[in-house]
């Protein structure tokens, strides 16, 4: 299990879609499996795991395209968190 934000996010995505081979810079939307249910789960996962509230204006596709982008979002919202 990863301890970095990026790693935890990747673990979550891989856990839900084990057949998808994704890395931290891969555009998950381009893989075609992101539906609104998964988007909701992803946002809930990020909010719960990193104890942040994502404001509406941050709910932009570019913040969720890749694990890199999501961990960037987390570090903006929770600067104290050790995100590598």
């Amino acid at each position: 299990m990863s301890t970095t934000a990026k790693g935890q996010i990747l673990d979550f995505i891989r856990g839900r879609y084990p057949q998808a081979e994704i890395d931290e810079s891969q555009d998950i939307f381009a893989l075609g499996f992101v539906n609104s249910l998964f988007a909701m789960e992803l946002v809930m996962f990020v909010e719960k795991t990193f104890e942040v509230t994502i404001p509406n204006e941050e709910l932009r596709i570019d913040n969720f395209r890749t694990a890199d982008a999501m961990s960037g979002l987390v570090s903006r919202l929770a600067p104290d968190l050790a995100v590598a």
Partner: protein
């Protein structure tokens, strides 16, 4: 709790409803004796809607400063079960109001929350949920209602159908196609261009005051849009439906519990060939299955509620599973409850006949049986394919 799951009610049935016990008292006093009359008249009367408001039942999960009581989701589920035990039409009205109130609270800007939540929490403003259309039900992506951005806000055009509470609601949460996605819009009923056409005489939840609602060049300000636009707009719908599904799961369990209580009581009283029905093995088999399924459904609903309270994303699938199990169990056992009651179960004003009709609706709304199965199987497939 007893074997049939009965919780003793508190005596009065008055005062605020804060937990299962006070909900049971409220429902036994104000709902159960009249539910068949509501079903026949096709309306939940204003007096009951007012009592629901006085009991603080419309949106108790809202924070106290927004007209709620900060209630947790497990307790909310228990209360919706109790209401569903008494009257699925009232529970349906609560469900859609819950969906609207939660969505405003979750996605609204401070200004939108300021404008709507207190009135929704108090039940001064009642909400309804408009997704389905004459041409699109299960396939939500197929909706054709449009929201067109204008310099000054939005213009909505389209027709929504099967809107629970649509005859009575003050504000509609309307899902419409925007140029980029599907957005959620708050539309006050009195906005010019909104027309409400009652749909009466449904098979079940007959008192839930359904309507078809048409929107013709309905002009709204920029603050009508709830939540983000763009890709995550779909999440607003997912979250709204998730909560609706949770409430329907709890309400279905309520129907099942009502079937169990009615059947156990009837089987003890009714004699055939000098023996009470309750002594006949075939009837005992039906009752034991009701007891078991009611308990299983209650655990699934509570699990989904606990995951909601913990903010765990696993609540979404847990809620699908709870709703699938509870709605199908309610339909199955409502049929058996009518069977146990024989002709009396088919008679005018028979509560089990009402449960039977209402339970069928639960297999269709908030994701039909088929859609539930497709979603649950999809999850199983994803989790096991490596």
């Amino acid at each position: 709790m007893t074997l049939t799951g009965t919780v003793p009610a508190t005596a009065a049935g008055t005062g605020p409803v804060t937990d299962r016990r006070s909900a049971r008292a409220f429902v036994d006093t104000h709902v159960v004796p009249y539910a068949d009359a509501y079903d026949r008249s096709g309306r939940v009367p204003e007096e009951l809607l007012r009592r629901v408001a006085e009991a603080g039942l419309w949106a108790p999960f809202l924070p106290p400063d927004s007209g709620g009581a900060g209630m947790d989701m497990v307790t909310l589920g228990e209360i919706h079960e109790e209401v569903g035990r008494g009257c699925s039409s009232l529970r349906s009205l609560l469900t859609v109001h819950t969906m609207v109130s939660w969505t405003v609270q979750r996605w609204g800007t401070p200004e939108q929350r300021e404008r709507w939540t207190a009135a929704l929490g108090r039940g001064d403003t009642l909400g309804a949920f408009c997704l389905s259309e004459p041409g699109a039900g299960s396939d939500a992506a197929g909706i054709t209602t449009t929201a067109t951005p204008t310099g000054a806000g939005w213009v909505i055009n389209g027709v929504k159908k099967w809107t629970t509470g649509g005859q009575r609601a003050d504000v509609f949460l309307v899902f419409a196609r925007t140029p980029t996605s599907i957005g959620a819009f708050l539309v006050p009923k009195d906005t010019p261009g909104v027309e409400v056409l009652p749909i009466d005489d449904m098979l079940g939840t007959r008192a839930s005051m359904l309507a078809e609602i048409s929107f013709t060049d309905v002009a709204l300000g920029p603050d009508a849009l709830l939540g983000p636009s763009g890709f995550t707009a779909g999440m607003v719908l997912t979250g709204t439906l998730d909560l609706g599904r949770y409430s329907v799961a709890a309400g279905s369990l309520g129907i099942l519990q009502a079937c169990l209580e009615a059947s156990a009581s009837y089987a003890a009283r009714r004699e055939v060939g000098g023996r009470p029905l309750a002594e006949l093995p075939l009837i005992q088999a039906k009752l034991s299955d009701m007891v078991t399924d009611a308990r299983a459904a209650r655990l699934l609903v509570a699990q989904a509620g606990r995951l909601k309270d913990a903010g765990e994303s696993a609540t979404i699938m847990a809620t699908w599973v709870a709703k699938y199990f509870a709605s199908t169990a309610a339909a199955r056992h409502a049929s058996e409850a009518v069977q146990i009651h024989g002709a009396n179960g088919c008679a005018p004003g028979s509560p089990v006949a009402r449960f039977y009709r209402d339970a069928k609706v639960m297999e269709i709304i908030e994701g039909s049986n088929e859609v539930q199965r497709i979603t649950i199987a999809g999850q199983a497939e994803r989790e096991t394919t490596r």
